[in-house]
Point group: C2
Chain length 357, copies 2
């Protein structure tokens, strides 16, 4: 693809999203292409994209944005839309939005008529780094994040950096947290570069390179273990605590972005890594200080410790009713399947000195 | 497995279902095993099975039987049950029932926490031959059969012939139709044997052999083409018309079992095979006469032709808005991707002389 400056079989960094999508879908007739957006991406992103083809209005569905709408009822909307508009097994669904939308749209496509193809066009930094490889699709259910879903890769993912101009500071930092995570588990050089990245200036050129590097590390890990039985669990660093934090906030209608939850999760899990893996106190401190500098203090009160741990008990990653953590031995190197008892977890939360004082 | 007389990696013909299940699940702790039944299979089949383990009552879910309950709301029941009973990714769901139950339970398991393992214990002849290989899971949606689902193989399928004593004549014949289909597309010798099978006596020994043969033919085809992009479409013989018939009956609350729908579908598609493939008139007649002898006349009135064709337009197998048929060249040999215009389909329905006069 002429206009794309980084490219793999299933992923590209696009410099002209409309041109690239037109090229990619050239063999599909108009009536086979369906587009899913949320009201935000319809307002702010669709203009960048829409000239790629002449898609009839009735083949475009706009759903509600937000984590609270990553629900079964919105999946039903998508299924009904595809059915009513006569999508068949050779149709393709183009998901344009943040991780909520690409996860939900990917799940809807993967289950419609037992699975049709889909393309992801992530519009947030978080979705670019987190949802663009690995094929995790899903929705929230029973108040639990991604409780229902399948693992099914998008046919292709297009990352188009100018979309980042449409998101706010908080969403930018949310995505940046997942890049920090990838660096912490996999690449100490990337970690240094991310720490040096000027978050005021937000150079599109530099972030493109750092993003591509993060995604490639992630992709490498996932391809070794697509079903997450082993090494893919590396990517769960920060997520055992992070998901529990998100679930608490979701149940309280508190606002907390995924990346922030993961960032605070990593700070706590850095303490566990110091106690139960071989992470040095210097590196634990480096992680925790960097997170505090960028994300501030964790929104956890001590009295919520028990509730937080209760949510961890429901984590999908658990086995044999024990809470499972991925920890780091040193920055750039991880250790999966650390089962840690609740007393120690509780200790790490209350003791998360570097971030809460 | 000692007590099993036919066995492949993912499928066995069991002579002692309780013993075989106990052997298979020996490495699972009690709290990891969940059982799904419907109220019929709980009443008539569970007694054969239940001694395999001491499963706590709260790990057993009994749902409503019947095609009309192959619905999203019952899948939600299963998801809620698994979540509330703390199933995790190492848990296993045992589906005991007809095709409705194994399809629905397979879909629920394949999507719970992005997929847990499941075992199928089909209790009807139809489910043994049709739902036990190939990994098609799903539910009905928008009045369409299996509109939502995924392709995911059961970890193992146990076929236990004594369950056939619990089903009525009509359900027995419904399963027998799928065996006839497999013979027509793949094995002329099996076709002769099935025609000679004494449907009054219903010898368990003979049907076990014929069933195993049918399933092996089916398995062979599916393994060549798991995603149904080519040769697997062979198994759709009789199903383009059959599914449309089922959809009509479902929308009218008419009672029509899947195998009957497929049988009548095969009679009509035998006419199309005579016109558009090289099926001889003798063999077309043989197929239609055999179906008439066993299943009687199709419940189609001429005035419903248009409605029937309208349903065919929604068939999952269609591509490029044309109605797609699998036809037979001769008994034992098939031809996929026959796109036939609606006038000819209409003709074949009205002209299905051998079965409706």
């Amino acid at each position: 693809m002429k206009n794309t400056h980084s490219y793999t079989q299933d992923l590209s960094l696009s410099t002209d999203i409309s041109y690239d999508l037109a090229q990619f879908t050239v063999e599909f007739s108009d009536d086979k292409i369906f587009v899913l957006l949320d009201s935000n991406t319809y307002e702010y992103c669709w203009d960048f994209v829409k000239s790629f083809r002449n898609i009839p209005k009735n083949q475009i569905l706009i759903i509600e944005p937000g984590e609270e709408n990553k629900s079964l009822s919105q999946v039903e909307l998508v299924w009904n839309f595809l059915g009513e508009q006569k999508a068949d097994r050779k149709s393709i669904l183009i998901n344009i939005g943040g991780g909520m939308l690409t996860d939900l749209g990917g799940f809807a496509a993967s289950t419609f008529k037992r699975g049709i193809d889909f393309l992801n066009v992530p519009t947030t930094l978080l979705a670019m780094v987190d949802a663009s490889v690995g094929g995790k699709t899903g929705i929230n259910f029973r108040g639990l994040k991604n409780e229902i879903g399948v693992i099914q890769k998008a046919l292709h993912v297009f990352m188009y950096l100018p979309f980042l101009r449409t998101i706010d500071e908080e969403n930018y930092l949310s995505g940046f947290a997942e890049m920090l995570k990838v660096a912490i588990i996999g690449d100490v050089k990337l970690w240094s570069e991310l720490k040096e990245f000027d978050l005021e200036e937000k150079s599109e050129e530099i972030i493109a390179r750092l993003l591509w590097r993060s995604v490639m590390i992630k992709k490498e890990i996932i391809e070794l273990d697509p079903r997450e039985t082993g090494i893919r669990k590396a990517l769960n660093f920060g997520h055992t605590v992070g998901h529990a934090l998100e679930s608490i906030c979701l149940s309280d209608n508190h606002h907390l972005l995924h990346g922030y939850a993961v960032a605070f999760g990593m700070a706590i899990e850095a303490s566990l890594s110091y106690s139960f893996a071989s992470l040095s106190s210097d590196e634990a401190h480096d992680i925790q200080e960097t997170i505090r500098r960028i994300y501030g203090k964790a929104p956890i009160e001590l009295k919520e410790r028990e509730k937080l741990i209760a949510y961890m008990r429901f984590d999908k990653k658990n086995e044999h009713n024990q809470i499972n953590f991925t920890l780091v031995n040193k920055i750039g190197s991880f250790k999966i399947n650390n089962y840690i008892n609740e007393e120690h977890i509780s200790g790490a939360i209350s003791m998360q000195t570097p971030i809460s004082r």
